[in-house]
Amino acid sequence: MTRRRIVIAGLAGLVLVLAAASLILGRTSLPLADMLAHPEDPLWAVLVQLRLPRTLLALLIGAGLGLSGAALQGFTRNPLADPGVLGVSSCAALGAVLTLSLPFAFPLLQPLAAMAGALAGVGLLLALSGGAGSMTVFLLAGVVLNTIAGAGVALALSLAPTPWAVNGIIDWLMGSLADRSLEDVAFAGPFILVGLGLLVLTGRALDALTLGESGAASLGIDLSRTRALLAAGTALAVGAGVAVAGVIGFAGLVTPHLLRPLVGARPSGLLWPSALGGAAIVLAGDLAVRLTPSAAEVRLGVAMACLGGPFFLFLLLSLRRRMA
């Protein structure tokens, strides 16, 4: 217990340091001491209008991805579960993309469609994995969702009415935190926070699920309530994130794995640390793409996929070794 607290404190410290770095560092590094002496310095606009939303979104989206990854892994007893791998993020992107072909639009249409897409994805996934849901069925369901969402997005791309729409679609596919505004934070923040709150409520059920579904049910766990909390929480946390920043993969997969050796494998004990760890990973990833000297900034979603792909491979190899 104390060890877990030390890790949580350490992660919180790491998140604070990374958040501070994210505010100060970038293509233009901010001379904070000078700025404090001159409140009317135009650089304050860079800090408040550009860096602050980016940092807050990285925090929120990272926490959402880390926590939903940990909760999905706990629920499915499957170390490969993650909103990206299982197609939840792609379904959210599909939801947002489909709104481009609608004849009408209103301000919250795209984000709401992204969350609806995520909810449909995670609902389908949990329905398919219920009962005799083995690891195989579950991962295949993820493959199916990713394929369907991918096909839908490809169709939307090929039917896109304008080059502007094509750019919009690509934005969702390759997530990025560049040029986001405080309005984006104000929109996505509450949804993500509610999602986090719902996911945290699943802790005790996830622990009991260590004993399998009938074991958990015999301990008085209401599995349909757990399934509903997980579906709604993931849809809100991941869907709202995708709505403002596009698809950012693998944070949900990687974070619980990195933390299990530190805080133990008990699913409820992994939830808060994974939220903090996910925030740290997305903050660090966003800092890395910002500070990499390249002509155009590499998109965060692409950078995370470059890191996450090999990690997934490594995980698969170690699983294979364990099963052999």
């Binding site: 260590t210 004993l211 399998g212 015999s218 008085g220």
Partner: protein, 256 residues
Amino acid sequence: MSGVLEARGLTLKRGRREILAGLDLSLNRGEVTVLLGPNGAGKSSLLAGLCGLLRPASGKVLLDGEDLSALSPAARARRIGFLPQTPEIAWPLEVRILVGLGRTPHIGARGLSGEDARIIDAALAEAGAADLADRDASTLSGGERARVMIARVLAGEPDWLLADEPLAGLDPGCQIDAAQTLVRRARAGCGVVLTLHDLTLAARIADRVLVLAEGKLLADGPPEVALVPDVLARAFGVRTALRRGPEGLSVDILGR
């Protein structure tokens, strides 16, 4: 009506297949009841029905006269502990944490208290698993695992303990240890209901034997009444002999 678990006209289905039809049964606390029957006879389904995990297609299960389906899942779980066949352990948890999961229906939203910790230690000791408390549960042998899973269900301090094949796959020594743990709990007032395949073990530990075949009860009574050759021939299609030796009853299987 205290201390009775009853099935009244209980019909259970898995999908569309009817497993048990209109079963009437009344079990008493303080007894070891052993369910016997060929594979597919519906033993596991009956256990699942009796502990409220499988909803009756018709009829009902009464716990001390109260309809089981009217109880909340947690209230039901506080009174009836269930050990599934081949219990899963999905994550490499410390044994003490795993056994602590047995307290789940009692603790609600709060964490484990000092009293819970004491009960967990007592359950570990009672199941002969105290020396395993700090081990990683994923590294346990079959026998160790069985002891830990029994400790897990004991930690819930249930009035009723239902276990599906808790002794399957254990060596003879481990079988006797595990069986004795369960019998002790029954003597302390718990209602213990087990499914078994070993007829002699059933004859030795059961106060009451239920023989189930093709969705019906073929026999219900003390071992010397229920384990007679005629019943076993109808249930399993084998010739047997029931003997009483100095160590108690035993069932010899003579052939088809």
